[in-house]
């Protein structure tokens, strides 16, 4: 009993004395949190989508990198979660000391975050955040859609004329991007390529590659396929026959087999499909139309009277211009024609070509929007066709114009639907080779109209007479012209000052792209054309890729 009590007492005494032992403090070390030498580390990084980016950090003297652990994270610079996934991008890309990874992310601004941990000291970390820009794999430049009757591909001309961020030394064609990314060419013969700027800061932009088989809507950064042609519609058209595509702001136009489709892409996160074809209300007869593949979308839809308007096109069925509204209805022009002009409602011609071009009045609030259309009389022998020797240029102004009923009231704009918009008809029927012209291009800085036969380019400054501009036969024998376009990009420093001509050599089955610097005011050539060779197949369409 005594022994027992003594043991208990001893234990209690020990516990009492040890209960409130004075804390004498930890044995702190002067820990180092600087492992990587940031003075030798990139301050800003630009990497290209789908390419491998590598970086090897340098370490300060005395640091043993093998005793550290690493985490490379990529974080998207964004203020809201992705509207589709509902997530922010914050991905661990690597845990290696040296970073070397393919960057699959969409073009945009990110932060590359390097976390360096010291496991021997409680994982104390050094964090280095570096702005990291993912650029498009398919670079900004002039897209070319080229191929044969069975398939085609997309290549992009990249130089510092069309791409303002690349150095002067960059001057080449990024070839066959679609097939590199998607592992196959686009089925069908090339018809159109277009860029659609969509979403916040263009983050959901698309590139349309459209062919005789339909084609695809692709992601803009790398042209990765997203939607086949039929998926662009709520219900696929009974006859898939793509003819034309255009976009202006949030408005999209598409012509399939003579039917016009319109969609207003007002939601930044998604694309709404094209519905049914636009239709004529019951008070208009005939109620059918066949849209030609040329239309004007840069029109006056700003003034309240025209706010519902979307575009103007030509109906080859009743041979009249029609306008479409954003409720998917189509309307006719009305009223009297101006002196020297024409009534858009009763043109009665065969449309050869149409393009928006030089619009001389740019004084606020009257911004003109000229639509130049090459038209012919009709030949009814052996079916309807264009009649030789009758080509004329029909010029309509679809911009914001003062209402002639209120000429002094600047607040009143004329209705888009007025026939008064048919401002002029120019007879170009006597111009050299005009009947043989297959390709047309209109400038936007002055009265500049190019037209081309298989092997000659002509320039007209009055839409009536012309001069030989460039002889392909003399300079590129064996080649024929397959496409021609004035570079027209609003706000671009080279807007209206470059002419692109695509040539095809059937012997080599390859194309040459000519870049011709022009005086935008009068269309004259500056210097000699620059040729880009070795593009497979025939270039049938070109368009600008904004980013």
């Amino acid at each position: 009993m005594k022994v027992f009590n003594s043991i208990i007492l001893l234990c209690l005494t020990a516990l009492v004395f040890s209960a409130c032992q004075k804390e004498i403090g930890g044995d702190y070390k002067d820990l180092n949190t600087t492992f990587v030498d940031t003075s030798k580390y990139a301050k800003q990084i630009v990497a290209r989508q789908n390419e491998v980016y590598s970086i090897s950090p340098s370490f300060i003297e005395g640091v043993d990198p093998s005793k550290l652990t690493y985490e490379w994270r990529l974080t998207k610079v964004e203020y809201t979660a992705d509207p589709v996934t509902g997530r922010y991008i914050d991905t661990v890309l690597s845990t290696e000391q040296n970073f070397s990874k393919k960057i699959p992310f969409s073009p945009g601004s990110y932060v590359l975050r390097l976390h360096v941990f010291d496991p021997s000291n409680g994982n104390i970390a050094q964090i280095i955040n570096t702005p990291f820009t993912v650029s498009s794999y398919a670079l900004q430049g002039l897209m070319l859609l080229h191929g044969d009757v069975n398939s085609c591909d997309v290549s992009i001309l990249v130089n510092n004329r069309v791409n303002t961020v690349v150095p002067a030394t960059a001057d080449s064609i990024q070839k066959n991007i679609f097939s590199i990314i998607n592992g196959k060419k686009i089925e069908g013969e090339a018809r159109a390529v277009a860029f659609n700027n969509h979403g916040a800061s263009g983050a959901r932009s698309k590139v349309y590659v459209l062919t005789s088989n339909g084609g695809y809507r692709t992601e803009f950064g790398g042209l990765k396929m997203e939607d086949p042609y039929n998926n662009l519609f709520s219900a696929a058209p009974s006859t898939a026959n793509f003819q034309a595509y255009g976009t202006a702001g949030t408005n999209e136009y598409l012509i399939n087999n003579g039917a016009l489709y319109y969609q207003g892409q007002t939601q930044p996160a998604i694309f709404k499909p094209f519905g049914s074809q636009c239709y004529l209300p019951s008070n208009i007869s005939p109620g059918t139309y066949t849209a030609t593949p040329y239309f004007a979308m840069d029109i006056d839809n700003v003034s309240p009277i025209n706010a519902l308007m979307v575009g103007v096109f030509y109906d080859s069925n009743s041979r009249r211009f029609l306008y479409s509204k954003n409720d998917n209805t189509i309307g006719t022009f009305t009223g009297t024609a101006p002196a020297g002009g024409f009534a858009l409602s009763t043109v009665g011609k065969w449309m050869v070509y149409g393009e928006q071009g030089n619009s001389p009045t740019q004084l606020s609030p009257y911004f003109s929007r000229y639509f130049y259309c090459v038209m012919s009389d009709l030949n009814f022998t052996g079916g309807i066709s264009a009649k030789a020797g009758t080509r004329k240029v029909y010029i309509s102004d679809l911009g914001r114009l003062p209402d002639p009923n209120f000429p002094t009231d600047v607040t009143k704009s004329m209705s888009l639907t007025s026939n008064l918009r048919g401002v002029a008809v120019k007879d170009i029927s006597a111009a050299t080779d005009i009947d043989n012209a297959k390709y047309f291009a209109f400038g936007n800085k002055g009265n500049v109209m190019y037209y081309a036969t298989n092997d000659k380019i002509y320039l007209s400054n009055d839409y009536q007479t012309s001069n030989l501009y460039y002889d392909i036969l003399a300079n590129y024998s064996g080649n024929v012209i397959t496409s021609m376009q004035v570079f027209k990009v609003k706000g671009h420093p080279k807007d209206g000052q470059l002419l692109y001509v695509a040539l095809y050599n059937s012997a080599t089955q390859s194309s040459t792209l000519l870049e011709i610097a022009i005086n935008g005011i009068n269309g004259t050539m500056s210097g000699t054309p620059k040729a880009y060779t070795g593009i497979s197949g025939k270039i049938s369409a070109m368009n600008y890729k904004q980013f």
Partner: protein, 250 residues
């Protein structure tokens, strides 16, 4: 020493009792039953009633079977259990074994949910009257089940020989896209849009597309006709399809 033995014994008992296995709490209350009618377009949602129109089902010439869910609260049982359904006569216009027949009211062994079939008949009287019939079935306590949620203690079934106007037509997307309700208009929607049911009103892209199809159809039909000869519904009122969701919906 003897005292130490006592302490050791008590400590052992305490140690052995320290970590006894605790049974997981289980549903100890009575088995209950409740009814649920899944949403038409989202079956995870519930709706107040099931509305069935024979014209939406042209192959159902004489009869069809409609279903509602019977769900149990509590554990599944190893044997079949019957639940009790009572017709709420005050809120029912359909006659049993004439207009409808309840085939089954058994929750099978081992299940928590059963779709309960109700056979409905397209009688001559139903066709002649043109009026919909209503059947309200209440869950009633029996020896197997008490009644579950108050909200879900009944199943309301409505059917008719004509198109029955959906409760969410007026003031909502159906009316905005298709205008006022009529028998002929619903048939027009099905025919022109090549569908067999009204579309999901929450799918505004699809509603917009159908709206455009209908507007174009009506415009074509009416073209060149006087107002009196334009497309009319069963009440001789001109069929009008409003523009839905501009810009560009559809």
């Amino acid at each position: 020493m003897k005292r130490l033995s006592y302490i050791a014994f008590i400590a052992s008992v305490l140690l052995l009792n320290a970590c006894t296995q605790d049974d997981i709490a289980s549903y100890e209350q009575d088995a209950r039953i409740y009814f649920r009618i899944p949403g038409e377009f989202n079956t995870k949602e519930s709706r107040d009633s099931l509305v069935y129109s024979f014209p939406f089902h042209p192959t159902a010439v004489e009869k069809d079977t409609i279903w509602f869910e019977a769900n149990i609260m509590g554990n599944a049982a190893p044997k079949d259990r019957e639940f009790k359904i009572e017709v709420d006569t005050a809120n029912t216009t359909a006659k049993v074994n004439v207009d409808y027949k309840i085939v089954d009211s058994i929750i099978p062994a081992g299940v928590f949910k059963k779709n309960i079939p109700v056979v409905i008949y397209k009688t001559a009287e139903l066709i002649a009257s043109g009026k919909p019939l209503r059947l309200q079935l209440n869950a009633v306590e029996n020896q197997n089940f008490k009644v579950g949620y108050d909200r879900f203690n009944k199943a309301v079934l409505v059917w008719g020989s004509k198109f029955i106007k959906p409760a969410n037509w007026d003031g909502q997307n159906y009316e905005k896209a298709f205008g006022s309700f009529s028998q002929k208009k619903v048939q027009l929607i099905l025919d022109v849009c090549k569908i067999t049911q009204l579309p999901n009103p929450d799918n505004i892209d699809m509603i917009g597309y159908y709206n455009l199809l209908l507007r174009a159809y009506v415009a074509d039909y009416n073209r060149g006709k006087t107002f009196a000869n334009q497309l009319k519904d069963e009440n001789n009122v001109n069929i009008f399809i409003p523009t839905y969701g501009a810009p560009g919906l559809g």
